[in-house]
């Protein structure tokens, strides 16, 4: 059918536009991610609070399973004698489950708050540098690192408030713009002016700062 052939041609055109082989800058990419890689693969502390999220959840799950089994066993054993025991067991089980979800939420919240704190420091520095016409050599690299972490947080799927989600999305865009500013003097002054203006007059730093002190409220 001619439409099939046209559609195949369209797909072929779109997917083969960039087929030329390019050698990846292996050392440059590695240098940019090395600190994050080191953090990611660092052997975990086995004490309470250590371990990856997955292993922590696994142990929490195992603990909850054992606790639930014990409680249910005791409850079933006493069921015929005293129905009140069941309600105590059920309260204990739901309290343990609630503790688990509270702990997971606290870990996610701490990650976001730590990241926002670092972003605030960075953006404040960038604003001061742009205002003074300075160019810090590590600005692009630092913004790319923060950008990568922002994207990971956005992609993590952890529950967050809509306001914090929006804040992370706006932060992502701003960091992408900053990372595109060249380190040398080849950049268009208008780009720097726009970013400086957004940092000075926009709301992002204000929103970060108002989020940071509210550490006890849910994100």
């Amino acid at each position: 059918m001619p439409e099939d052939s046209k559609f195949d041609d369209f797909l072929r055109r779109e997917t083969s536009r960039f087929a030329e082989p390019v050698t990846p800058p292996a050392d440059a990419i590695w240098a940019a991610i090395e600190p994050e890689v080191a953090r990611a693969i660092r052997p975990q502390d086995r004490r309470y609070g250590g371990g990856t999220r997955v292993t922590r959840r696994l142990w929490i799950g195992v603990g909850l399973g054992l606790a639930a089994t014990l409680i249910i066993g005791v409850a079933v054993g006493r069921w015929s004698a005293a129905r009140e025991t069941l309600s105590v067991a059920s309260v204990a089980t739901s309290r343990a489950a609630a503790d688990d979800s509270v702990r997971a939420a606290a870990i996610a919240e701490a990650s976001v708050l730590q990241h926002l704190g670092e972003a605030e420091v960075f953006l404040t520095t960038v604003r001061a540098d742009l205002n003074a016409g300075r160019r810090e050599s590590d600005r692009a690299e630092r913004s790319r690192q923060l950008l990568a972490r922002t994207r990971l947080l956005l992609a993590s799927g952890e529950p967050r408030s809509a306001a914090v989600d929006l804040l992370l999305q706006d932060l992502e865009l701003l960091l992408a713009e900053i990372s595109s500013l060249p380190d040398s003097g080849r950049g268009r002054p208008v780009d720097e002016q726009l970013i400086e203006q957004r940092l000075r007059q926009g709301t992002i730093l204000h929103r970060i700062r108002t989020t940071l002190p509210a550490q006890s409220s849910g994100l």
Partner: protein, 181 residues
Amino acid sequence: MDESALIDEVLRGDMAAARRLYDAHLGAVFRLAMRVTGDPTLAEEAAQDTFIRVFRGLRGFRRQAALSTWIHQVALSSTFNLMRSHRRWQQRRAEVDEADQLAHETAHSEPDLRDKLYAAIEALPEIYRSVFVMHEFEGRDHEQIGALLGIPSGTSKARLSSARLKLRAALREFEGEWASA
């Protein structure tokens, strides 16, 4: 050294092993990112995102699947995410740069249709998307795809055909554009 032993070394915090794992897979990741983005800087960024996610997720990696297949999936997801946020960034930049005509650089060649195509590829079920990307973007044949995914080459062909049908259905409203392009 086999793959599983290399992963164990990495998970013990050995950065030299991490670098070996990175070197073994960077070429494929970068090639994929380059073919999807067409931009070395974006491809570099996508490769960074991919490997950070890979090393962060390595402890949870289930070793029944080949590491290369999992990394390929992570790379695909990272690259499409990046393209989406880059598009948002370009749109915002185009707004402020309208006066000096930069918008023309970002608006060539049916941007809506291309966005729609990327969105449709991303929305394909994983079994179809992997085959489609490997065949169309990476230029692999069905024998290679079958070996990588652990499926017969005939299954790869069938999945590619289904993927094309699904994409065509998803892009039906743009038929006038792709048919006349």
